[in-house]
């Protein structure tokens, strides 16, 4: 039985395809040829490979030539005399390759099932349903197998329908007397799968008055099944991926869109049928693929898939035949919009009612054209203030406006503020982080505000008190009543005010507590018990005042609460404006060091060690390991100090400088030789002093007295030492003294020179005056001492001075050039002159020329600069000075200055500031 069963089983088996060759004994299984080594050959054994674009990618003809091995032989040619070539009509096949005529070519000669007989997927409904199912199915494309397995014939139902006259694309049902394209199922009644009852659809729309012949009937429109499957994938709307069924059946990608533009059945049928009538090659097409070599259709690979192809609104099918596309003018059939959509659902304020009609759209009126002589100034009408206005008038006004104070309900409506209305409407509060604007103010400002407020209150009160006495005669309601009313009103308004965050009296906790209780009782409406919370120890007047204050605070809070708080946000990080970053370590006291240097005790006393953080990149560039790999600090570590600390501003006038200044003055008086020269930036003591920290400042202050005795001999000793070493004692001492003075200059001039532009000019000019005054004296001195001027090793600067002094009377161009030189080299050690000033007598003309050239060059180059302007001024001044000097040599600086100004007046480029100063 077993054998029989096996036999029967074998008989039952159906075998497909050709069996593999049985393996020989010991033969190894051939390895499959890998994909990259597989080759495709055509019928002639040629490798079918890509041959270039002109042949469509294939080798054509005979090795890409026409004809045969022998060449091109025209088929119409007959070379015999007897046989004449008859005219043949060439068909398309004559121009085709033989591949095209083969089974898979474009014109197969074999017998194939044509579209007429094939059960092509013309059943659109089914196909669409299948497409949808294919997308939704767990394995996309499984429905493709339905087509494989499915019958190749038309189902009997379809056949029956056809016999009954049904055509594809039509709906099922009796024919109707309408334009089929206008058919539109009522959206409220959804019927799936079959056609609508004609009566229903007929009644739905009848507004079209196109020509409709009576005897013409139309088939009902096909109905699309509505896809109700939820979207579970993460693709974009309408994206379907590659549909294998489509790939297999070669449905063009345009039919994807047919799914969405469902109304365009006819057109797609038209197009689609034309396309499908060709035996289209099977192949995979889709958005994700380009056009393959085997593809014949490459029309819309570059088509951009615009959003306009898709529905953006969930609505019914597109009316019309779909030929217009989306941009066609739509038919607004249902213009009447349901007003229910805009119906307001919510509470309604008292005094308001919902509008029965929707308001028409707001018409925009253009602003009136202003009259020509219109002046945009508004004159305010006299406003009656509660305190000081005539009460009669006020009352009359109130009555005239119909606003009765006693009418609480009336008043409440008009006196509501935004917060209260919000409360009544039940809307949520705007989220503002801080409840009060006062919170944002600093403590000091708050205090000040309060003071101002109180002061104004006091004033107001005084006014009221002063006015009450006369007005009380006329006023029937006493002021007490008025305040009570006001209070009541306030109490109602204060209902919303959550005063827990608002602490106007935070400084005084007891008062704050009282205030809070006060507000609470106000909220609860216990007006009579307000006084209860006030301090019983206070006098009546004080209590009244406090009550007033509380009221005002409450009002203030209320008004600023919701409106402002939502517009501010609290700062994330506190920026302390009163702090400045200063280096943590300061190079400490200079005086110690000075003394140490004097005593030549270099080392610990003169050395400051700081932690210094080099930049990471700098370490990298220097091939050095970062000493502080974890720190983000660069440079000296900084600390925050109080910006307005008294120590930062405590610049104690350094006693040493003052003393030396005094001594200098003495020296000046005695010798009238040295006047303070240019202020120099390297007066170390001042610079250092500014940045000294507080302690050292105090130390220096403390030490000042001790230094007074110590300092003065210092320049003298220097003078002596240098004087002995040098061969030109007077000149050198000049130098030294100048040096000394430079380092002892008070900082005021320096700051002026730096910051005030006009004063800079002024000061420099005065300095030059001093220079000028100095020069003749030196020259006199030199002439007196009869030193030979052309000593080669005298300092060049002094020589310059002497040169200017000697040539002073002759020319005036030289000093200007000298001063210009000085102006350019103002800071730091100067650069030596370009040429020797040793034998200046010989070189004088040359030097002058050189300088002139240089000067000219400069003026040409920097004419626009301000500096240059200054120089010009200086020149002008100098000229003026020289003129003046002739007449009055030893006049006071003021007179020269005024004459300077006179001479300056006619010059150009005077700054207005300077003019003001004079």
């Amino acid at each position: 039985a077993a054998v029989e069963s096996s036999d029967s089983e074998e008989e039952d088996l159906v075998s497909y395809g050709s069996p593999l060759q049985p393996l020989q004994e010991g033969e190894r299984i051939k390895k499959p040829v890998p994909l990259q080594e597989q080759t495709v050959k055509d019928a002639k054994g040629r490798y079918q490979r890509f041959h270039g674009a002109f042949t469509g990618g294939f080798s054509a003809g005979y090795f890409n030539t026409v004809g045969t091995k022998e060449g091109w032989t025209p088929s119409a040619f007959v070379s015999s005399r007897q046989k004449r070539a008859d005219r043949t009509v060439l068909g398309p096949e004559d121009f085709m390759d033989e591949e095209d005529l083969s089974e898979f070519g474009i014109a197969p000669k074999d017998i194939t099932t044509t579209d007429d007989f094939a059960s092509n997927a013309k059943d659109r409904i089914k196909e669409k349903a299948r497409q949808i199912a294919g997308v939704v199915a767990p394995i996309p494309g499984t429905t493709a197998f339905d087509d494989l397995i499915g019958p190749s014939k038309i189902t009997i139902g379809v056949e029956l329908l056809r016999k009954m006259g049904w055509k594809e694309g039509q709906g099922i049902g009796p024919r109707v007397k309408r334009k089929p394209c206008r058919q539109k199922p009522d959206p409220t009644v959804k019927i799936y799968g079959c056609a609508l009852p004609p009566g229903l659809s007929e009644g739905s729309e009848d507004e079209e008055d196109d020509y409709q012949p009576e005897n013409v009937t139309f088939a009902p429109k096909d109905v699309m099944p509505v896809d109700l499957t939820p979207k579970e994938n993460v693709h974009g709307l309408g994206y379907k991926g590659l549909d294998p069924s489509q790939a297999l059946f070669g449905v063009s990608a345009r039919e994807h869109l047919n799914l969405f533009t469902g109304g365009s059945e006819e057109t797609s049928n038209l197009l689609g049928d034309v396309r499908h009538s060709k035996g289209r090659k099977l192949g995979i097409t889709g958005q994700a693929f380009g056009v393959g070599a085997l593809e014949e259709e490459d029309d819309d690979i570059y088509a951009t898939d615009t959003l306009s192809k898709y529905d953006t609104v969930l609505k019914d099918e597109e009316p019309g035949d779909g030929l217009y596309g989306w941009t066609a003018p739509k038919q607004y059939k249902s213009k009447k919009r349901p007003e229910r959509e805009f119906k307001y659902i919510g509470k309604v304020l008292a005094g308001f009612s919902l509008a029965s009609k929707s308001s028409s759209p707001i018409k925009v009126y253009p602003p009136p054209s202003l009259p020509r002589n219109y002046r945009p100034v508004h004159y305010f009408r006299p406003v009656l203030r509660a305190g000081n206005a005539n009460s009669h008038l006020q009352k009359a006004l109130e009555e005239s406006t119909g606003k009765l104070e006693s009418d609480a309900t009336h008043q409440s409506r008009h006196a509501l503020n935004a917060a209260q209305r919000r409360e009544q409407l039940g809307e949520t509060e705007l989220k503002g982080p801080a409840p009060s604007i006062l919170e944002y103010l600093s403590e000091k400002d708050r205090e000040r505000l309060k003071e101002v407020k109180q002061a104004s209150e006091q004033q107001m009160k005084a006014k009221i008190v002063s006015q009450q006495s006369p007005s009380s005669r006329f006023q029937s309601p006493s002021p007490e009543d008025a305040t009570n009313k006001w209070r009541m009103q306030l109490g109602e308004q204060l209902v919303n005010a959550g005063s827990s965050d608002f602490k106007p009296f935070a400084k005084n906790p007891e008062k704050q507590k009282r205030y809070e209780n006060f507000v609470k009782s106000l909220k609860q409406g216990e007006k009579d018990r307000l006084e209860r919370f006030l301090d019983p120890n206070m006098t009546e007047w004080e209590r009244g005042r406090e009550q007033e204050e509380f009221f005002r605070a409450a009002i203030f809070y209320r008004s600023s609460n919701s409106t402002l708080s939502s517009r501010f946000t609290r700062a994330k990080y506190e920026d302390d404006v009163d702090k400045v970053e200063v280096p943590r370590d300061q190079e400490n006291d200079i005086d110690d060091k000075e003394t140490a240097v004097k005593m030549k005790m270099f080392g610990k006393l003169t050395r400051d060690n700081f932690e210094w953080h080099p930049d990471k990149l700098l370490c990298k560039r220097f091939n050095v390991r970062d000493p502080y790999p974890d720190s983000s600090v660069v440079g000296l570590p900084k600390v925050k100090r109080d910006k307005y600390s008294v120590f930062n501003f405590l610049t104690v006038a350094e006693p040493t400088t003052s003393v030396t200044q005094a001594t200098n003055e003495k020296i000046q008086e005695s010798s009238s030789l040295n006047k303070p020269k240019k202020s120099s930036r390297w007066d170390v003591s001042d610079k250092e002093k500014e940045k000294k920290d507080a302690i050292s400042e105090f130390i220096s202050l403390a030490r000042s007295k001790a230094d007074v005795q110590q300092q003065p001999p210092v320049p003298a000793t220097e003078e002596c030492t240098t004087g002995t070493t040098e061969t030109l004692p007077t000149v050198v001492t000049d130098e030294d003294k100048n040096q000394e003075e430079e380092s002892r200059r008070p900082p005021m001039d320096l700051f002026k020179a730096i910051f005030v532009s006009s004063s800079d000019e002024k000061s420099s000019s005065s300095e030059e005056e001093s220079d000028e005054e100095q020069q003749p004296t030196t020259s006199e001195r030199e002439s007196e001492t009869t030193k030979q001027v052309d000593i080669p090793d005298s300092s060049s600067s002094n020589l310059q001075e002497s040169v200017t002094a000697t040539t002073d009377s002759g020319t005036s161009s030289l000093p200007t050039s000298k001063q210009e030189l000085d102006a350019t080299e103002e800071f730091g050690p100067k650069l030596p002159p370009a040429f020797s000033s040793g034998r200046f007598c010989k070189h004088l003309d040359r030097k002058e020329k050189h300088r002139k050239i240089r000067e000219r060059h400069k003026t040409k180059k920097e004419r626009k600069r301000k500096k240059e302007k200054k120089k010009k001024h200086k020149k002008q001044k100098n000229k003026g000075k020289h003129k003046n000097k002739k007449s009055e040599k030893d006049s006071s600086s003021d007179t020269t200055d005024s004459s300077d100004s006179l001479s300056d007046m006619d010059t150009t480029g005077l700054s207005p500031k300077e003019l003001l100063r004079r």
Binding site: V597, S796, F835
Partner: protein, 315 residues
Amino acid sequence: MAFPRPRPARPELPRQRVQTLQCGQGAVRAARFNADGNYCLTCGSDKTLKLWNPHKGTALRTYQGHGYEVLDAAGSFDNSQICSGGADKAVALWDVTTGQVVRKYRGHAGKVNCVQFNQEATVIVSGSIDSTVRCWDCRSRRPDPIQVLDEAKDGISSVKLSAHEILTGSVDGRVRRYDLRTGQLCSDYIGSPITSVCFSKDGQCVLAASLDSTLRLLDKDTGELLGEYTGHRSTTYRLDCVLNEQDTHVGCASEDGHVYFWDLVEGSLALSLPVGQGVVQSLAFHPRLPCLLVATQGQVTLWREDTFQPEGDPS
């Protein structure tokens, strides 16, 4: 057995003028040897920078591109690049062979007094009268400095670099040494405005010249005074100081037209070299030979030891 080391030759000082370069570029603000001492750079007040072979006295190249006086220059270790700083507030990086400005670093607020390459020529350190020292990156294209050393209270007159240190001399009378390796800043107070600083060859000492006509040799680590050298005159101008190639002598330019050399240990004046009439502004000592480059006014002179034969090949 170990032979006793031969007694080091007595250090020679340059006493003999060998070459005179008439630079023709206005006042020569600085003369600098290149890394190996075979060439030199002169910075002129006519905005040019010139490359010379001072031993032969030939001018090799002129670099133009500064907007104002060139105040200092330095060559890179591989002689491929030059950096220079000028009164136009710019620091320029030059290509030696093409003579073009490779980069220009702007950021200083004042004249750039001094520039230096680091050892690998990856960073230019420049000091300016705006009291900052700026470290410019030669590798990247960033326009701003890597780091600004703004600790000085007054203009920077001199900057020198060692492998891991930046030494600055400032007019505020301090010599500051930024040690990158230890992350420390040592500030030594001298008092008088510093005109020039330099490291000794062994890297243990710091020589500082100041406007009180004094040179001071300080111990680098402790800041103690090792020597003080006076006799020259330096009261007004920014003059250079040098150490000779064996660290046996210190030298300094003077405003009286001389170059003075002192014995480093004894502090005694060893040599007073009359150079010219004007102020000797810039000095440069050859890295290996007793050879001195002196810039005064418009010319640069090269000085060698007495035993040197001018016609012989300058090794």
